[in-house]
Structure formats: C-alpha cells, structure tokens
Symmetry: C2
Subunit: 365 residues, 2 copies
C-alpha cells in the first residue's frame, strides 16, 4: 500500500495494515472452509471459533473475568445509551447519575431520559467541555442506579485519566467507544462498559459490551428481546445473526494487540508517546496552536486544537491534505482541528503531522 495516506479520522479510523491483509484473506476464504467469512453461517463451527477467539482475546487484553459477560451487539454507543437505561434504569428510584464531559455524554442523557429519571451530577457544558470534574466536584448519589460517564469525549478531546470514584454498590457505566483497548483498565471498577468498534477495535458495525453478570437480575421484563441484555447474554450474542465480519475483524485486531504490540500496557505507552509529540508541539508554539482541552484532561486519542484564525486553519488543512494527512478538520461543534491518533496510527504518521505543525507555524509567524 505505497499510496496509503495518514488517516486522522475520528472513526471509522485507520486499522493496522496486518489486519487489513488478514481481512482480505478471510474474504477470500475463512481458514480452509471453502467459504468467505462473509458467507459463513453464524451457527457454523468455523464461526463459533471466531467469536470465541474474539471474546477470549478481549478478556485476556482487558483482564475481564467470567463474572462479566462479553457481548457483540449492534447499533453503536447511541443504541447502548437507550439499552443501558432500559435495562438498568427503568422503574428504579432513585434514578441514575450522569457525568457530562462532552457531546456524547449529553447524548447519553437525552436517550436515558426517555427511560427513567436521572440526575446530572456534573457537566462541563458551561466551560465549553474542556475538562473532567475534579474529585471534589463530583458528588455521586449513594444509592444511584448507576453512574454513567464517557471515558473519552471524541469531539472535544477530553479524557478521564482514571475512573471516577463511586460509592460502594453503585455500578459504573462507561461509554468507552473512543478509548477502548487504548490502555489497561481496572475492570472490577465497572458495572457496564460499551464501545463501538470503529475507533480502536475494528470496523463500524459491531459494539462490544462487557457487563457484570449480577446486574442482569435488575433487568425488568417486557423489553424487546434484542434490547434485553439477558437475551444477548443467554444466547452468547447469537440471538439473531450477528455482524459476523465485523466480529472477525475485532478478533484480528485483538490478536494484533496481543502478539504484535504486546498488550495494553505497551499500547498505552505508545499512545502516550504519540499524544505527547502533538501536545508538545502545541505547547511549544508560543500560543500559535491552542489546545481545546485543559491539560489535566487531555485526550491521548483525539487531539483538538485551534490556529490563530479560521483562514489559517483552512490553509493548514489544504497543505496537510496535499501531503497525505487527511481527516484533520475538527467537529463543527468545536471547530479548529482534530487529530485522532488511535492505536493503529503509527508513530511515523504523528511525526509527519508534528513536523508540519512546526514548519507551518514557522512560515506563518
């Protein structure tokens, strides 16, 4: 792939070249089956091996014990916003606590409101979503149904550096879409975590959910079968036809993380190094580049920043595109630029961008 660009898209996003090559092989033929992975029955032994390996690799990477279910669902975080609330909030008093650190947290609140009562225990909206709360700003309801937070806000580039503290017995629910698999986590801190795959874990079209099984006792009857975590857990994600190919690619990505990268600790170091290069370029620019997020809450996945004017931002984007650095425009709600540097973005891509940041600044100051 000699004409391959540097793709800084916020998701769907760049994937490891090894995974792309293996995915092509699987489309040709899945391991001696005489069929493409696109053609293979989800009830076949060959696909059972795929989904079992995908689950086992994710459990190994994240240290997920058997007391948690690992599910492969559809609909992205947007459907999980409803599904979490249908399963764990409907009919409960008191309701759930939500911590809102960006656009996705706000969307989670909108959807959950259809299902039950909730309290926004902290919101960064008035400050333009630039940071996560300090520990002393966060007062969780002692017996809340759960606390929902967004570990990394893709649009604003605001990331929790570690999990929020919660009172004993209050499950932590996390939208981990854009930093899933980017660093180790303390799994036993979580009740539910979910992630659309299309940033770090695979292609669009599958949503990974890890869920403490004991929470299934709280699920009310009468939910649509597809949206009832109990159905999905009982059927091991095979209640109906799952997105077989997307699960296959998640398996390939997880394998790559284990045996090419060496696990999430090493991945986190590389991600910190990549993000460090960009934030150093921003901080060392004498104010030419201005980061959106407060340094205490900077994302290692989505680096959001502004230039001195919108005109300069446009010029930068044009020059970047000429050099094969693509998808750097920020989300319209924040403006400016955003470099999404997920697991599969090589250091070389970030270095190329950092060099451009420096030469562009030198030419325009």
């Amino acid at each position: 792939m000699s004409d391959r660009v540097w793709n800084f898209s916020a998701g769907p996003a760049t994937l490891p070249e090894r995974v792309l090559a293996e995915a092509r092989e699987g489309i040709h033929e899945l391991s001696g089956s005489g069929m493409s992975i696109l053609e293979i029955s989800h009830r076949s032994p060959a696909f059972q091996d795929v989904i079992a390996e995908a689950e086992a690799e994710l459990r190994a990477l994240l240290g997920i014990p058997d007391s948690y279910a690992v599910l492969f669902l559809q609909g992205g975080a947007s459907l999980q916003f409803s599904m979490v609330a249908m399963n764990l909030l409907r009919g409960r008093t008191p309701g759930a606590d939500y911590v809102v650190t960006g656009s996705w947290g706000a969307k989670a609140v909108s959807e959950a409101r259809h299902e039950g009562s909730l309290r926004i225990v902290w919101s960064g909206e008035d400050e333009g979503f630039t940071r996560v709360p300090r520990p002393n700003e966060l007062r969780i309801t002692d017996d809340a149904a759960y606390v929902h937070f967004t570990s990394n806000e893709t649009i604003q580039g605001v990331q929790w550096q570690s999990e929020p503290d919660t009172p004993d017995g209050v499950p932590l629910v996390c939208d981990m879409s854009s930093d899933f698999l980017s660093r180790p986590i303390e799994i036993d801190r979580y009740g539910v975590l979910f992630a659309g795959a299309q940033k770090n874990a695979g292609p669009a079209g599958v949503t990974v959910v890890a869920l403490r099984r004991e929470l299934l006792d709280r699920v009310p009857d009468g939910l649509p079968s597809m949206l009832d975590y109990r159905t999905q857990e009982k059927s091991k994600s095979l209640y109906n036809t799952p997105p077989t190919f997307a699960i296959y690619v998640v398996m390939l990505v997880a394998r790559w993380l284990r045996d090419e990268i060496g696990g999430l600790g090493e991945m986190a170091s590389r991600n910190a190094e990549k993000a460090g290069l960009l934030y150093d370029a921003i901080d060392g620019s004498g104010g030419f580049y201005r980061g959106h997020a407060d340094p205490s809450s900077r994302s290692r996945m989505n680096v959001t920043f502004r230039l001195p004017s919108e005109d300069l931002e446009r010029r930068f984007l044009d020059i970047a595109a000429e050099r094969g650095l693509l998808e750097l425009k920020g989300h319209r709600s924040v403006g400016g630029l955003r470099a999404s540097i997920y697991n599969a973005m090589p250091l070389e891509g970030v270095r190329t961008l950092t060099e451009l940041l420096e030469t562009f600044r030198a030419e325009h100051t």
Copy 2:
C-alpha cells in the same frame, strides 16, 4: 477459488464471486482514496458516494419511488419486529393484524405484543406451517394499524407467491429478509418492508428498510432516537456511524444484480428454474423425498424436505459434505434437510445437488 464449496446455508449465505473479489479490493483501497473501506469516515465524500449508490441501485432494482425512504439500519429483522411496532402500533386502536406462516412471523408477534395490541388474523401453526392462507381465509381488520406478513419463511420454506390483499388504507408491513431482491415486487402495495441483508443482499450486519414516508406522521414521540424511523429518515441513515462495509457490499451486490444478471425479472426466472429442479426431483422421487411445504406455497429460496428416516438423512448429509455440498441440514424445529438457494447460488450448484438426490435415491430404494 478452485476449492470453493457449494454453500446451501440459510444465511449468512453464498455471495457472487465477483462481489467477493470487489470487496477484497475495497478492503485494500476504496477507489483511489488511499484508505480501506474499513477505515473511511462515514461523513467522507467517498462514503457518501457509496451509500448514495447503494440506495440508488436498490431503488432502481425494486422500482422504489421517492415517496418511500430507503434506510440502512442494524439489528436485523428481529429488531425491526420491535421497531415497526414501536413506530406504528404503540398507542393505536385498533391494533395491527399479523399473518403467521412460520417461525419468523411468530417471533414478530412476540415482539410486537410488548408495544401494543394485535390480532393474529391467520396462523398456519396447527398445520405445521406448511402454507400461506388462501385469499378467502384472510379477513383483515378494515382499519388495522397495519398488516404484518413474512414473504418467505426461511425455516419452513413457505413463501407467498404474491402479496396478500389488504383493505384500502391499511399499510402492508413485510419481513422480506429471505426473499428480498429475489423477484420484482409491487412496491406501492407496501407500507414498510425490511430485510436483513445476509441472504440475498450482502453480508450480515445491515438491515434494509423501505418505508412510505407518509407513515412517519404516525410515529409517537419519546422513542429512542436510534429506533425512531423519523431520526433515521431525516439523517439518511447517518444518525450515528452506520455499518459502512456492509453497506458497501450491498452496493456491490446490487450492481451485480443490475449489470451481470440484468435485474429482478431475470433473477426471478433463474430462481424459479433452480427451485424447479429441486422440487421436480422431490416430486419425481416416488415419495422418497417429501417436501415440507404445500406445493401452493413452496419457497424458491429455501427448499425443505425429508427423507424416509433420520438415519438416511444423516447419511445423505455425510455424502453431500464429502462432495462439497454444505449446510444442508434443516432447522431443528422442522428437521430434515433444507437447501437454501438464494440469488448467488449458481445453477450448477443446484444441478450438483439434484444429481446427488437422484443417485442417493437410486441407491437407497
């Protein structure tokens, strides 16, 4: 692909070899973008072209006018069972009418019951789901919210030969998962049709919905955004990240149908020819093979039949597998054998199976 098998799976199912080759190319690079189709942003112009072409091809094949929306959703027919009822049944009196001709129709009823009141206007359950109702057996409520039917029951192999008659003003809702794109339809007979792609239209992971836009006025407020047809219509299936690769493959399949097959009329002829070969072999076997479905309601997609004993069925499956004829075991609820012969199953594959049916019978009678 010289070691390619004949895959009679009920879905995910065999795909055209041309489509598989093109899908591999797209995973390498999407049309000069420098990125894989798996990596490309759903907001990018390149993907806009993909989803627009997928929609345009489906509209052309099925004759869908602009008064209908065409949506690309997730969750399969199983989620549509709930979504249809949430959008068009909740809070309505009288409720909806359901015609149940097999296992999938029965599942549709179970899910819809969570959302509102309904009436089963005909069920083939007492007869073991062997046929669709005769016109004089079907009495639709004059002002029903809608009538739901399953155009082809994948498990039983029972197919409607044409749409049921409905009173003026009662929308016809159809689960078309397993015969979508297999023959021309009279689109203006339908209010809503939906189909999981993994039989005739593409890989698992995307659900195509065509919906008469005027029905959107009936949708109640308060639904989860992801499950509100209005959200999906307004955002042109891009409310959140859609299953980009699966949509890409649907586009490739639709192109193949148009410019290699020549459209749905020709496809229907070929499907009739393939099914005819198998039913002739069954009917000419002197009772050795017994079809499950009544001849009036035989499916051209899923040919279900029994042998004189379960032991012979097992022997047949073993010999078939040795010859590369796979996935012929019937669904456990019906037993026996099932040959799924969707659009992409070549005539040659069906001929090979027919020959085996004849030699096996000759050796065992």
